[in-house]
């Protein structure tokens, strides 16, 4: 049953995907109007799907690969909605919606069975670890989306051509603020998530192997994240430089994620 709800959610997110693709053209007035309701509906279905999984299999089901992807998509959508409520702009959707669709798609077509291989795992800490880290991911990704939009807007302002997309993107400073705020909000989540993760590792294996690819890459990602927050706070880096850093952090995050497949300890992913 959860997989059914998830697929319904996927259908809703497809509308958002279409919106994002057509946002570059002038058409799609109708899409503008239905994209937001469709995405909200998708969120509701995804929430139902995840809740059902948790009710059936306990909170730990979140840690399965396909559920965690779905969970990440939901968190990213929640972050997007938060931005929408504060700034009344759907522009980050141009970048966010395709990712949400992709994550949900992978999750909705992935296999079900889920095996927890480490018997001594501290489940509470594990769930906290995943929830915190994913909130951090969502914020990081939103910040990345904002810096991409910033680059587009900056380019069209500099080239002095008022194209259609320029007219509809929010003001440069607003995009910048969205990016910076999500960065700031995401940082504590990411930090706490890593701490929770290291507690899990500590109690499971007795020590933390810093050279394990997963742990190493996670720390690297966190370091890039911290550099981003610092340069922005201290030197006001934005625009191109901020976008490069955000891209670097996202890349590190993606690699850290894929490290699940070859890490010795981070292996609760046999699905």
């Amino acid at each position: 049953m959860p997989i059914l709800w998830l697929r319904v959610a996927l259908g809703c997110y497809a509308v958002g995907l279409l919106y994002a693709l057509l946002a570059l053209t002038q058409r799609g007035y109708l899409l503008n109007r239905i994209a937001l309701p469709a995405m909200s509906l998708g969120m509701a279905f995804q929430f139902v799907s995840l809740t059902e999984s948790v009710l059936v299999g306990g909170p730990v089901t979140i840690t399965s690969v396909h559920n965690s992807e779905s969970f990440l998509a939901l968190l990213i959508m929640a972050a997007f909605m938060l931005v929408y409520l504060v700034y009344r702009t759907t522009s980050p959707g141009i970048v966010v919606f395709p990712l949400v669709f992709l994550l949900t798609f992978v999750s909705a077509t992935g296999q079900q069975p889920f095996l927890l291989t480490s018997p001594g795992l501290r489940r509470g800490w594990l769930v906290a670890h995943i929830a915190l880290i994913f909130t951090g991911y969502a914020a990081l990704f939103l910040s990345f989306a904002a810096s991409l939009l910033y680059l587009v807007q900056e380019h069209s302002l500099k080239s002095k051509k008022s194209s259609g997309i320029l007219l509809r993107l929010p003001a440069l400073e607003m995009i910048d603020e969205i990016g910076y705020r999500s960065l700031l909000l995401g940082f504590p989540f990411m930090t706490l998530g890593l701490i929770a993760g290291s507690i899990v590792a500590q109690t499971t294996y007795g020590h933390v192997n810093l050279l394990d690819p997963k742990i190493f890459l996670s720390l690297l990602m966190w370091a890039v994240y911290m550099v981003m927050v610092f340069t922005r706070w201290n030197a006001g880096w934005r625009g191109r430089r901020a976008a490069y850093l955000a891209a670097g952090a996202v890349l590190a995050a993606v690699i850290a994620w894929s490290a699940n497949y070859f890490s010795a300890i981070h292996r609760f992913v046999q699905s």
Partner: protein, 430 residues
């Protein structure tokens, strides 16, 4: 409806002619009153703005001499302005009025002031009683058309003047201009205008630097801003979010190194340079710096003209709306127009019926009430039967183009008098 319109606008007449024909607000009511009393004029309205003077009249038979009104009123040499006059009647006059109200005939197509000016002229004319029935109908419709054009097309939505383009760009960079600082370098007329626009949109305060300090102080006083010594320009400029330059300096006063300095002092918060000086005050390579946006006068002009092109496209859609509205209005007026003809046709036949009854009554001798009733019913029935087809034909024709011809034919066939001339005859008789 017998509409006549005569006037000049920015296309037909140069400013020297327009300013001579312009009627100041204080004289407008009087001018309209005189127009309404002009021979042959039923209702009248005068619109006088800096770009146009329009005299609109609903006349008794379409033959009022409006040129004569202009000659009488202005007492000018007609040769000076008459070659620049345009004249419209009926549908053309309706169309022209609709276009004026919808700001399609404006120098800056879509500018919003004109509708307010038409409304004022209408209010003045109404107040002096020069507009009551037909023109009232027409003007009310014109306002509705203007509103329709405004809501259904994008005419009037984009900015046009250089100053408002600058404001629009600033908004694209900063979002709200609230709390933003503006720096005027050089105290020209145009930079003052741009500053005024920015302030109107929420910019917080203004610094002014000028080669002559007094001029800077004077301009700063206008905006309750601060005058800055020109020597301190580079030390203070980083405080400004928006810099408007218009000095007569022969070389660029803001160069790349200044931009880098400002950015590091501002922690890379963006800056917007509006350079309206020729030769330019801001070196073009400043635009390459992250977070600095430089628009020179050509860039602004280009933004203006791309807006104008957008407007032209929208204006075409607006013209189509106006055209369909003119047709609708004429159809409605024509429906109203057949009513007097039908009424006078009925009156005419009723008079004949009564006259015929009176004529034969003597020969019939005394009639019983029943017989009286029978004669009445018989004659009335014949008249109604005969009239039925012509009346229904007139009513259906009212919506077609042929209505006017048909009304003419009916009036001539039955020798019906014009209601208006009948009325004036009554007046002279009494």
């Amino acid at each position: 409806m017998n509409l006549q319109l005569i006037g000049v606008n920015h296309n037909s007449a140069p400013i020297e002619v327009r300013e001579r024909l312009a009627i100041p607000d204080s004289h407008l009511a009087d001018a309209i009153r005189r127009l309404a009393n002009h021979p042959g004029v039923d209702e009248g309205l005068i619109l006088s703005t800096c770009n146009r003077v329009e005299v609109l009249a609903q006349t008794e038979n379409g033959g009022a001499d409006l040129r004569r009104f202009l000659r009488d009123y202005f007492q000018l040499d007609p040769a000076q302005y008459e070659p620049h006059l345009y004249e419209y009647r009926e549908g053309e006059a309706i169309r022209h009025l609709f276009r004026v109200a919808a700001s399609l005939d404006s120098m800056v197509v879509g500018e919003p002031q004109i509708l307010g000016q038409v409304k004022e002229a209408y209010a003045t004319a109404r107040a002096v009683g020069a507009v009551h029935s037909q023109l009232d109908l027409l003007l009310t419709r014109a306002f509705a058309v203007a509103k329709r054009v405004r809501t259904e097309t994008a005419v009037g939505s984009s900015a046009v003047s250089v100053a408002s383009v600058a404001v629009e760009l600033a908004k694209k960079i900063f979002g709200s201009l609230h709390g933003k600082q503006v720096f005027l370098v050089g105290a020209g007329k145009m930079s003052e205008l741009a500053a005024r626009h920015l302030m109107a949109h929420g910019a917080a305060s203004i610094f002014v630097a000028n080669r002559t300090y007094d001029r800077a102080a004077q301009l700063a006083g206008k905006f309750s801003g601060r005058a800055i010594l020109f020597e301190q320009l580079y030390d203070t400029c980083d405080r400004a979010d928006i810099v408007i330059t218009s000095t007569g300096a022969p070389f660029a006063i803001f160069r790349r190194e200044h931009g880098e300095l400002f950015l590091s002092r501002r922690k890379n918060r963006p800056m917007f340079f509006i350079d309206i000086a020729v030769p330019r005050d801001v070196a073009p390579e400043m635009n390459d710096l992250d977070g600095i946006f430089v628009y020179d006068i050509d860039d602004l002009q280009q933004a203006v003209s791309s807006h104008v092109a957008d407007r032209r496209r929208e204006a075409e859609r607006a013209e189509a709306i106006v055209q369909s509205e003119v047709e609708r209005f004429q159809a409605r007026v024509q429906t109203l127009d057949v009513v007097p003809t039908i009424v006078s046709l009925q009156d005419h036949l009723e008079t004949i019926r009564q006259a015929e009854i009176d004529r034969v009554r003597a020969r019939l001798g005394p009639l019983s009430p029943d017989q009286e009733m029978a004669v009445e019913t018989l004659t009335r029935g014949i008249v109604n039967k005969i009239m039925h087809t012509p009346i229904s034909t007139l009513k259906t024709a009212a919506r077609e183009q042929e209505a006017t011809t048909l009304i003419d034919v009916v009036r001539r066939l039955f020798n019906l008098q014009d209601r208006k001339s009948a009325r004036s005859r009554d007046n002279s008789a009494s």
